[in-house]
């Protein structure tokens, strides 16, 4: 029996605001008239368009092919006509090449989609191939290709799988709702993943602020007899960050610059597990996901089942529109999400939420000089010194920034959240990472 506290060092307790949307059942949104499907929705090489303007496509048809191993294809999310392949606003990269499809309103599904008989009997390599073909990328936010995580090298066997249902970002409730409404599909996804990995230890990790989800999974696992442990995590941000999650549950520390597989662990988000099930049991590609549309700037916060490529505007309209004082629109949660410059951006595979903040929430005060209070150092889950990092990046000392571990920063935002001087550490550190990466590339060349 372990009496260790299931948590990690550092972290913060931002207000949760989950109550805005957590009681809202997932609703299906009427199809938009046009979807904008970026070729790059995952980490790695962007997909390559395999359709032309004027082509007719069905829902689930592949429209972009993976380029290389660390890449996934993209699929049409509605049936209709390709009307453009051009650069469009992108919620993460600002702008990027996208396939634009005009919906015919019929939503005809690709004939390839359908139940697969005895799907658990498929060969493991076939399953991985299917998962790549279905375009799966981590749905918790970082959007790393799923099949790559499922293919560890032989010298790094995975003995522990963790299903990440922490959902520690304030406001967001998409994972919570999915766990409540689709628990059996998620569990089946977990079984498939564990079969692919051949690993014995399985954990389902949920923060204690979702007691209903914890109870539900405990009951399901008790009934089914699965050898899975349900872990009720202490509520602390960023509990859902991969390295912090692994530390809390297994007490293993992913080495700096390393991956979970270095300590025999693999973490997948609940949404990804559900998508794995869809891909393996139905040959269904990833063309829709659950998105929380929330915030005090949204008239009626909701959890929505959304086709990839649906413009933010369409979803916001469905939720009764914005309040008059909404001034900031964020792709994701308030701690790590990305502020948007237009509502034309589409939902991508990594979009877990759309958050609208009002003027008084979004108005961040001017930064003041650092008074060395040490709150950021105490809050940093990666044990860095954010105040020092921010300062030396400002001074352009990128070599020093690298030595102080700027690349180890997970950009969780805990430092900037607690800073009484309102210093924008993450802003500086993101810039620092960019410059350090350039520096390293220049050195390698």
């Amino acid at each position: 029996m372990i009496f260790r506290k299931l948590t990690f060092k550092g972290g913060v307790h931002p207000p949760e605001y989950k109550e805005l949307a957590e009681k809202q059942s997932i609703e299906k949104v009427p199809l938009p008239s046009v979807v904008v499907i970026p070729l790059q929705q995952h980490l790695g090489a962007p997909a390559e368009a395999i359709v032309k303007v004027g082509d007719l496509v069905k829902t689930g048809d592949k429209i972009g092919a993976a380029r290389g191993f660390v890449s996934v294809p993209i699929h049409a999310s509605v049936s209709g006509k390709v009307i453009a392949i051009e650069r469009r606003p992108h919620p993460v990269s600002g702008e990027g090449l996208a396939v634009v499809i005009e919906s015919d309103g019929k939503d005809e599904q690709s004939s390839a989609i359908g139940p697969v008989a005895n799907y658990l009997a498929q060969a493991v390599d076939d399953m991985k191939k299917k998962i790549q073909d279905a375009g799966l990328a981590g749905m918790g936010g970082a959007a790393f290709p799923t099949h790559v995580k499922l293919s560890p090298p032989a010298n790094k066997p995975i003995d522990t799988f963790i299903l990440n249902g922490a959902e520690c970002e304030p406001f967001l409730t998409a994972d919570h709702r999915l766990m409540l409404e689709r628990p059996n599909e998620i569990l089946e996804g977990v079984r498939i993943i564990m079969k692919i990995l051949g690993c014995k230890n399985g954990f389902i990790a949920i923060e204690k602020n979702k007691p209903d989800a914890i109870a539900l999974f405990q009951k399901l696992v008790n009934d089914s007899g699965d050898q899975l442990k349900i872990i009720a995590l202490n509520v602390k941000y960023p509990q859902g960050a991969e390295k912090q999650l692994i530390k809390a549950i297994t007490n293993r520390k992913v080495p700096a610059g390393g991956l979970p597989m270095d300590v025999g662990c693999l973490v997948h988000n609940v949404g990804t597990a559900k998508a794995v099930y869809d891909a393996i049991a139905f040959n269904k590609p990833l063309y829709e996901r659950v998105v929380t549309v929330t915030g005090k700037g949204i008239q009626q916060p909701k959890n929505l089942l959304v086709r990839i490529g649906t413009p933010f505007q369409h979803l916001i309209d469905y939720c009764g529109g914005l309040t008059d004082n909404a001034v900031k629109i964020i792709n994701g949660g308030p701690m790590m999400g990305i502020a948007q410059y237009t509502l034309d951006v589409p939902v991508t595979k990594g979009t877990s939420g759309i958050l609208a903040l009002t003027a008084d929430e979004a108005q961040l005060p001017e930064p003041q000089p650092c008074i060395r209070c040490g709150r950021c150092v105490a809050a940093c889950p990666m044990n860095l010194m954010p105040n020092v990092l921010a300062r030396i990046v400002e001074f352009g000392r990128f070599e020093d920034a690298r030595n102080l571990g700027v690349l180890d920063c997970i950009e969780c935002g805990s430092c900037a959240f607690v800073c009484p001087s309102k210093i924008r550490h993450v802003h500086h550190i993101k810039f620092g990472k960019l410059e350090v990466t350039k520096l390293l590339k220049a050195k390698a060349a």
Binding site: V327, P365, Q368, G374, G405
Partner: protein, 371 residues
């Protein structure tokens, strides 16, 4: 035309804490000690505190005006500097001393380094060190007997005695009877002088009586824990009442404006070292409780060593800093020329902070030491 949206890097929310909130939090925590100071030393104490605050604010505003920089007196840090400086001078100083002291603290101790956040040493302590070096007599003679001021206000004396906050003869409460000479001196002064007497004259048979009196005086100091704790003793304005200072400290800890690692390691070090080396009868004969209750240790440990700007940022660093302060304080008290060493010890340790920070850098999560 598309609406213009706010765009910033994440995170998009922040907690409610701010620099002014922290600074005014420190001011609030000092209110019990300030009220206590007025009670013990009279309205004069309030006047000194007021002048020090005005001196600090005016200096900061004038310099920033002249330098055409934004005026930062609203952030509360100059108020804190003013109060802390006043807490560190006797109530009887001439009116211009708190003004000059806080002006020095701001003009030399803070602004030239870049203002709040950049000063290497605690400005209030620097101001005090300046006053002590320039007008040592004003700074070291404590003429005011605690509570004596009340006797010249018969009405108030009657009221306070009804509330059992005052006895007509304060000397009865704080008795160092037999050594009238020292009434009104700080207990640490008494300790230092009597210890010197014992060490110097112990082997001289003709002085036996004097030595015995000294022994008696030191013994009486140990009997005065109550007065030391409540503050009914001579000393600087804000340092005498351990009780009232602790009330403020509890508030600061509750608000998480200070962390316990510096005060605990500081006070602990003073206790241990003064127990080992602080006695007149050889090793381990010292009186640790007397040493931690007397003088400015509580004020220094909870309010000045913990100054965020001038103390280490890491947890390990905090302990090193506190222990260093403790060692230097005891060295000065027992061996040095001054009876009290709190402010110098903190100032000296302030200067080691960049070094401490450098060598106590936390180890990055998952970082493996190179073999």
């Amino acid at each position: 035309m598309d609406k213009k949206w706010f765009v910033t890097a994440s995170p998009h929310i922040a907690d409610q804490e701010s620099v002014p909130k922290i600074m005014y939090g420190v001011v609030i925590s000092l209110i019990p000690a300030i009220l206590g100071a007025v009670y013990f030393f009279g309205p004069r104490a309030a006047w000194v505190i007021f002048l020090a605050i005005v001196g600090a604010l005016a200096t900061e505003a004038i310099i920033e005006k002249l330098m055409k920089k934004p005026i930062t007196i609203r952030d509360g840090s100059a108020v804190v500097t003013g109060i802390l400086l006043a807490m560190n001078v006797p109530a009887e100083v001439p009116w211009w001393m708190p003004v000059i002291g806080s002006a020095f603290a701001i003009a030399i101790g803070k602004i030239p380094f870049g203002g709040l956040g950049y000063n290497p040493m605690n400005p209030a302590l620097l101001g005090r060190a300046f006053l002590l070096a320039s007008w040592p007599t004003h700074m070291t003679i404590f003429r005011t007997q605690p509570l004596k001021w009340i006797s010249s206000h018969p009405g108030l004396a009657e009221l306070l005695s009804k509330l059992s906050l005052y006895q007509p003869d304060p000397a009865a409460k704080f008795s160092l009877s037999g050594i009238d000479l020292f009434t009104g001196a700080t207990p640490l002064n008494v300790f230092k002088q009597q210890k010197d007497v014992i060490l110097r004259l112990a082997d001289d048979p003709s002085m036996t009586e004097k030595v015995n009196t000294a022994h008696e005086a030191i013994k009486q100091l140990s009997d005065s824990y109550g007065n030391l704790f409540w503050g009914n003793i001579g000393g600087c304005i804000g340092e005498t009442s351990v009780f009232l200072l602790l009330i403020g400290a509890v508030y600061l800890i509750y608000k998480r404006y200070i962390r316990l690692r510096i005060p605990l390691s500081y006070i602990g070090t003073v206790a241990v070292l003064s127990w080992i080396f602080g006695g007149v009868d050889g090793l381990f004969s010292g009186d640790p409780l007397f040493h931690i209750l007397a003088g400015g240790l509580m004020l220094g440990a909870f309010y000045m060593a913990t100054d965020m700007v001038t103390s280490p940022i890491t947890s390990t660093g905090g302990y090193i800093f506190g222990i260093g302060c403790g060692i230097i304080t005891v060295l000065i008290r027992l061996i040095g020329g001054y009876p009290e060493g709190v402010s110098y010890s903190i100032l000296l340790m302030n200067l080691t902070v960049p070094l401490i920070d450098r060598y106590t850098k936390p180890k990055t999560f998952g970082k493996v030491d190179k073999k």
